[in-house]
């Protein structure tokens, strides 16, 4: 018989999660006790919670331990160590999620308040979702991966449908929900197969079992493919992207920003963990599969984006295609010893992409406060009455297009470099496809620039836009990051030092 004994808990390592958990409770409590007109306090509080959670992340990284396991084997229980770890990769990603969350709070402040939505609950959900993301960065086990994934997804489903009276928002939520649940169900089925093969949910054990040999290759392939799908859905890789445009368009804009950045990043974290720890020896499966996904994602996302009239929808497709670019190095990882470059490329891309894309959404939110429209044409003549916003939007779009000296170029550069580093047909071919797509992508970014700079104001209303302070802060953070990371990409050198994930190195 078993007797239960609690494992040894490294509280410092778990501190970000704990801060967030406490913060969630705090927000709920505060929400209960403040009067309606002061509900904005919950937003402020959420922001502080995010920043507070960032503190232990900083202290952990300053300590500089290579890796620490949050839960360690106690005297009686075995096999917990290494299921939930804190390494540099996890820390960087946690920081990214927390900062993105903070910016999303800034973005939400006014629109949620002015929309008359339930602020307290909204921020609670937002914090929960961020908690899920923070958790996924540390998960090295199928169970914790799954739990974290659901933890970040379920609040997101609700946030997507947050505008209760809005039919589009409902539709966005339902679509996201049904497909998300379906995808995670399929993923779970894959996970069950993997568990069956390995006899353990620990990723390193799975890696040992999934080597594409023996008589169960078919089951291995099925398991890998199904598991990848679950995360491919999150990153909206084609053909698992179908939810994204509809949801992005329908959801409240700050939520869209959140989904397109943080949620996507979380999906990538899951994929990275799987590829680097669970499947490094199964590259004959994930490489072609993800190669095709990457190529399709870039291309289809771009092509359809060309036709969009709605700016949010256009950005949705744009973020799909950006996902393709991020997928590119991952798809050819472990080819010709480029895993270090691949990992770096994905992480750098995610960071820069987050700053840039959130910035773009911030501008959209700011502009739509005046125009109340999501059409691209509503940006006409923006330069004449909001030059600052125009310049910022130009910076963000140009960065998304990958034009130096804005952040995006370095992100794309890293992705290309990792792909070329792979040095074979897989790498070169995807790099060329990527290069062509980079050009196509430019076409629709530039359409928006053209609208802002060169077209007349559609309704002739040129009263200046008043940008609330929180939005200004968000814009400043994103703008500065985009610029600085473009000119001095060496600043994210910490990321550059990470060449592999803990546990990825098999004996």
């Amino acid at each position: 018989m078993f007797s239960f004994a609690s494992p040894v808990v490294d509280f410092h390592a778990l501190a970000p999660e704990l801060v967030l958990a406490v913060g969630i409770c705090l927000v709920i409590l505060v929400d209960l006790f403040v009067p309606d007109h002061r509900r904005w306090v919950t937003g402020t509080l959420s922001g502080f919670v995010m920043l507070a959670a960032l503190l232990p992340v900083v202290t952990l990284s300053v300590l500089g331990d290579d890796v620490r396991s949050a839960l360690m084997d106690g005297e009686l229980n075995q096999g917990i160590t290494g299921r939930y770890v804190v390494d540099n990769f996890a820390l960087v990603m946690k920081a990214l999620f927390l900062l993105s969350g903070y910016v999303v709070v800034l973005l939400s402040a006014n629109s949620i308040e002015e929309g008359g939505y339930n602020q307290g609950e909204f921020y609670t959900l937002l914090l929960s979702s961020v908690l899920g993301m923070v958790m996924i960065a540390s998960s090295r086990d199928l169970v914790s991966l799954f739990v974290a994934l659901e933890f970040l997804s379920i609040p997101a489903y609700m946030m997507a449908a947050w505008k209760k009276r809005d039919r589009k928002s409902n539709e966005a939520g339902v679509k996201y929900y049904l497909l998300g649940v379906f995808a995670s169900a399929v993923m779970l089925y894959g996970m069950s197969l993997l568990y069956g093969l390995a006899g353990s949910t620990l990723l390193t054990d799975i890696a040992a079992a999934v080597q594409l040999d023996g008589d169960k290759v078919g089951v291995q392939v099925l398991g890998i493919v199904f598991v990848i799908i679950g995360f491919a859905f999150k990153i909206s890789a084609v053909p698992f992207h179908t939810w994204a445009p509809d949801t992005y368009e329908g959801a409240p804009t700050p939520v869209t920003a959140f989904l397109s950045v943080a949620s996507k990043a979380a999906g990538f974290v899951g994929l990275i963990v799987l590829v680097f720890i669970a499947f490094p020896l199964a590259q004959d499966v994930y490489r072609p599969f993800m190669w095709v996904m990457a190529a399709l994602t870039m291309t289809v996302g771009n092509l359809v984006a060309l036709k969009q009239k709605n700016i949010v929808r256009m950005l949705a497709y744009s973020s799909i295609s950006q996902g393709g670019f991020i997928l590119m190095p991952l798809a050819v990882a472990f080819t010709n010893g480029n895993q270090g470059a691949s990992l770096r490329a994905v992480m750098v891309y995610l960071i820069i992409y987050a700053a840039t894309n959130l910035g773009a959404f911030a501008v959209i939110i700011a502009v739509s406060r005046k125009t109340n429209s999501g059409e691209i044409s509503s940006f006409g003549g923006l330069f004449s009455y909001a030059p600052g916003l125009t310049v910022l939007m130009t910076i963000f779009l140009a960065s998304l297009a990958g034009i130096p000296p804005l952040g995006g170029w370095y992100a794309k550069f890293g992705a290309f470099k990792a792909a070329v580093d792979a040095a074979g047909g897989w790498g070169y071919s995807i790099a060329v496809i990527g290069a062509v797509n980079a050009v196509i992508a430019t076409a629709y970014y530039i359409t928006v620039m053209r609208e802002m700079w060169m077209k007349p104001v559609p309704d002739g209303d040129t009263t200046p836009i008043k940008v609330p302070a929180s939005l200004q802060a968000a814009l400043a953070i994103c703008g500065v990051l985009t610029l600085v990371l473009g000119v001095l990409p060496g600043l994210i050198a910490k990321v550059g030092d990470i060449t592999d994930l803990t546990g990825a190195l098999l004996p």
Partner: protein, 756 residues
């Protein structure tokens, strides 16, 4: 700037670079200050040309001394005011015989890789001849122009351009290397554009300018390519070295030398108006007459001939000239065709300047022919003599138009009977015409005869006949032109002039409109109603600025020939210049044949015949006819007795004109002219139009359609593809789910199959 040579070759010889530099500086002075000068900048131009002339004369003098000086050991070889580098290509040559080394002064300009470029002067007999010639003629023409273009609205520009032109020609003449040569060559091209188009308000003029520049530029292709070929072949740009190496050419790469020679000759064809690129030259008469006189008779157009003469070893060796058994070569053929074609065309021109223009083309043909048959001295000497008399003829034409025919050049409409009123012009014209015809003891005789003689002597028999027939034709068309201009009854503008100024003024405007070919001064020539003072002995002739140059040129038209008169045993010119053709080399240019009257006789007889026939015809057609007709119309019926005779006379005219001339001469000449205008010129124009059409087609279909279309098309395709993909995004959850799972299933299936 230029280092003194160790052993002085003579100040002028070493500082000959001043000759082009002075007018070049003058050009900028005129542009900058000309308008503020009392005489609109013309004084600067003339002064600079005079200065150049003086230095050129000094250079010539010292060159003569140098040639005549006894050869001291090594002296000539060292006598090179070279700056920065000294090559000794002609040392042995200098020591080997009586050859006189050229004086080369250079200043390093720049190096690009193995291309060494210098500027400076290459003085030898050929260069000295041309220097003197160009400076002299330019001076005279500028003096002439002060009167001729007086009051022109771009008087200053005119002098600036014409001065720059001289500078360009002089730069080219003393070029020590091909780059400087091209420099001068192109500057001349530019100036010809500016000067031909001087009255650019009229489209015809600017079109003529365009045509001239463009046609010459077609030839320039050859210059560029030929120079490149020479550079690749010999690794140098220095003319002296090129000549040296070409003369001693023994490589197995003869084909390349041939190619270079042909390419360069194409440039000469363009510049010197040789068949088939001669059509720009008559059109170029749209420029003011002094321009025609300077550029298109005596200087610029001989640049092509000069190029052949300058690089004679290249052509001589490249084209195997004077190799035993050769009776044709490209230069001789082109030259010969040009002689005949142009002479034929000169018959049917009514415009006096066009007659002279075709005559120039024809004479240039002679020069080329001479070079083609190995008569280097004869050809160069013909450049020399031709310059004087052709310049004189053009200036006479200008004088007539300026004073006698109210700015018309139409011989049939506005001239005739001018000999009494314009004695100076008339005499100079006659003298020059005789020189042009090659009448013995006039300058043209000596030069042309040597070419003709050499053709025969060097076994280019066909070209001998071409040359003497050409000579006869020359005599004939010049006789016709002379008769039309100075004899017979005054017509049109001339009639007003001959019969009194008052009449002329009454109808002036009408004439100006009707004959506005030389359209200068539509506005301006009211203002200076009376010209400057004429010479005292020819009060009705043009003013002194015009007549004095005429007289000088007339004198030279006679006497310049005596510098090299084989008939009189004078070979001075030959002696002075012979070192210029790659001396002391393996190249064998046969010496000019000994002169004998017997050999010259057939040519002279043909000239005489041409003169007589033409005179008779002209008298009959142009002279008597007019008289008869006027008699018919003005006299009353009482004189009916003479009527029949006059009718008969007229019948005779008709016989001449209709049967002999129209049936025999005219069809040929006309056919030639038609060919010229429609085929050759047509081709030139068609090339122009065709080029433009091609451009339009290429632009419309290839560029905008194909290339750009491909680009835009790919954009459209991308968008189209995007549109095609949109239906996937149907908005229906079930389909999304099906897609999701379908893709997963297909992916998994494929991967399972591949991996197991």
């Amino acid at each position: 700037m230029f280092a003194e040579s160790t052993e002085a070759a003579g100040w002028f010889l070493e500082n000959a670079w001043l000759i082009p530099l002075i007018p070049a500086v003058a050009f900028f002075l005129i542009l900058g200050f000309g308008k503020r000068m009392p005489r609109g900048g013309s004084e600067i131009g003339i002064a600079s040309m005079l200065a150049s002339l003086v230095i050129a004369a000094g250079t010539a003098y010292q060159w003569v001394q140098r040639v005549d000086a006894p050869v001291a050991e090594g002296e000539h070889a060292l006598a090179r005011g070279s700056f920065g580098f000294a090559r000794t290509f002609s040392e042995e040559a200098a020591e080997a015989g009586h050859e006189v080394a050229p004086v080369i002064s250079t200043l390093d300009w720049f190096d690009i890789g193995r291309l060494h470029v210098s500027i400076g002067s290459h003085i030898d007999g050929l260069a000295v001849t041309l220097l003197l010639l160009v400076a002299f003629i330019s001076t005279l023409v500028q003096i002439y122009s002060t009167e001729y273009v007086r009051g022109d609205r771009r008087y200053t520009h005119f002098f600036a351009s014409i001065t720059l032109f001289s500078a360009g020609m002089l730069t080219m003449v003393l070029a020590p290397n091909m780059l400087q040569f091209i420099l001068g060559w192109e500057i001349m091209g530019l100036c010809s554009f500016l000067l031909i188009g001087h009255w650019w308000e009229e489209t015809a003029n600017s079109k003529a300018a365009l045509k001239a520049f463009f046609t010459v530029r077609v030839g320039d292709m050859g210059l560029l390519v030929g120079t490149a070929a020479l550079f690749a072949l010999f690794g140098t740009m220095e003319i002296g070295e090129i000549n040296e190496q070409a003369a001693n050419f023994a490589g197995d790469n003869k084909g390349m030398l041939l190619f270079a020679a042909i390419a360069l000759f194409i440039a000469c064809i363009g510049k010197s108006g040789q068949f088939p690129l001669h059509t720009w030259l008559p059109d170029a008469m749209a420029g003011p007459t002094p321009v025609s006189s300077l550029l298109h008779s005596s200087t610029m157009v001989v640049a092509g001939v000069f190029l052949v003469a300058r690089l004679y070893p290249v052509f001589h060796v490249g084209l195997d000239i004077n190799v035993a058994g050769q009776s044709f070569n490209l230069i001789a053929v082109i030259g010969g065709i040009t002689v005949l074609i142009a002479a034929g065309l000169a018959f049917v021109q009514d415009d006096i300047k066009k007659v002279l223009a075709y005559s120039t083309v024809s004479q240039l043909g002679y020069m080329m022919l001479g070079l083609g048959v190995g008569a280097w001295t004869g050809a160069v000497f013909h450049i020399f003599t031709h310059a004087f008399f052709k310049c004189a003829l053009f200036l006479c034409a200008g004088s007539i138009a300026h004073t006698g025919s109210h700015h018309s050049f139409d011989m049939k409409k506005d001239m005739g009977g001018l000999r009494k009123k314009m004695p100076v012009t008339f005499v100079v014209w006659i003298v020059s015409t005789m020189a042009l015809m090659g009448v013995p003891f006039f300058s043209g005789f000596f030069s042309k005869d040597e070419i003709i003689d050499s053709a025969k002597h060097n076994h280019y028999t066909v070209f001998y006949f071409v040359a003497i027939i050409g000579a006869a034709m020359t005599a004939a068309y010049m006789t016709r032109a002379t008769y039309l201009t100075f004899f017979g009854k005054a017509r049109g503008g001339a009639a007003h002039f001959v019969h009194g100024h008052d009449d002329a003024h009454d109808t002036h405007d009408a004439h100006a409109d009707a004959h506005g070919h030389d359209a200068h001064g539509h506005d301006d020539h009211h203002a200076p109603a009376h010209h400057s003072a004429p010479l005292p002995f020819a009060k009705t002739d043009s003013s002194w600025q015009i007549t004095v140059p005429l007289i000088i040129l007339g004198v030279l038209a006679i006497f310049s020939g005596y510098l090299n008169a084989p008939a009189l045993g004078i070979h001075w010119f030959e002696h002075m210049t012979e070192s210029s053709i790659g001396a002391g080399s393996a190249m064998s240019v046969p010496p000019p044949p000994e002169f004998s009257w017997a050999a010259a006789a057939p040519g002279l007889l043909l000239v005489l015949a041409g003169f007589v026939v033409s005179l008779l015809i002209s008298k009959a057609v142009f002279g008597e006819k007019k008289t008869a007709l006027q008699g018919l119309t003005q006299r009353n019926s009482l004189l009916g007795a003479g009527h029949k005779f006059l009718v008969n006379k007229y019948y005779l005219d008709a016989l001449y004109e209709n049967v002999i001339v129209k049936a025999v001469a005219y069809p040929i000449a006309r056919a030639a002219y038609w060919t010229n205008q429609h085929v050759l010129d047509g081709i030139v124009n068609a090339v122009g139009i065709g080029g433009k059409r091609t451009g339009e087609l290429v632009y419309k279909y290839v560029d905008q359609g194909l290339v750009d279309g491909a680009v835009n098309g790919s954009g459209a395709t991308a968008r189209g593809a995007g549109g095609a993909l949109q239906p996937v995004q149907s908005g229906k959850v079930n389909l999304y789910g099906a897609l999701l799972f379908g893709a997963a299933a297909v992916g998994a299936l494929v991967l399972v199959l591949v991996n197991s």
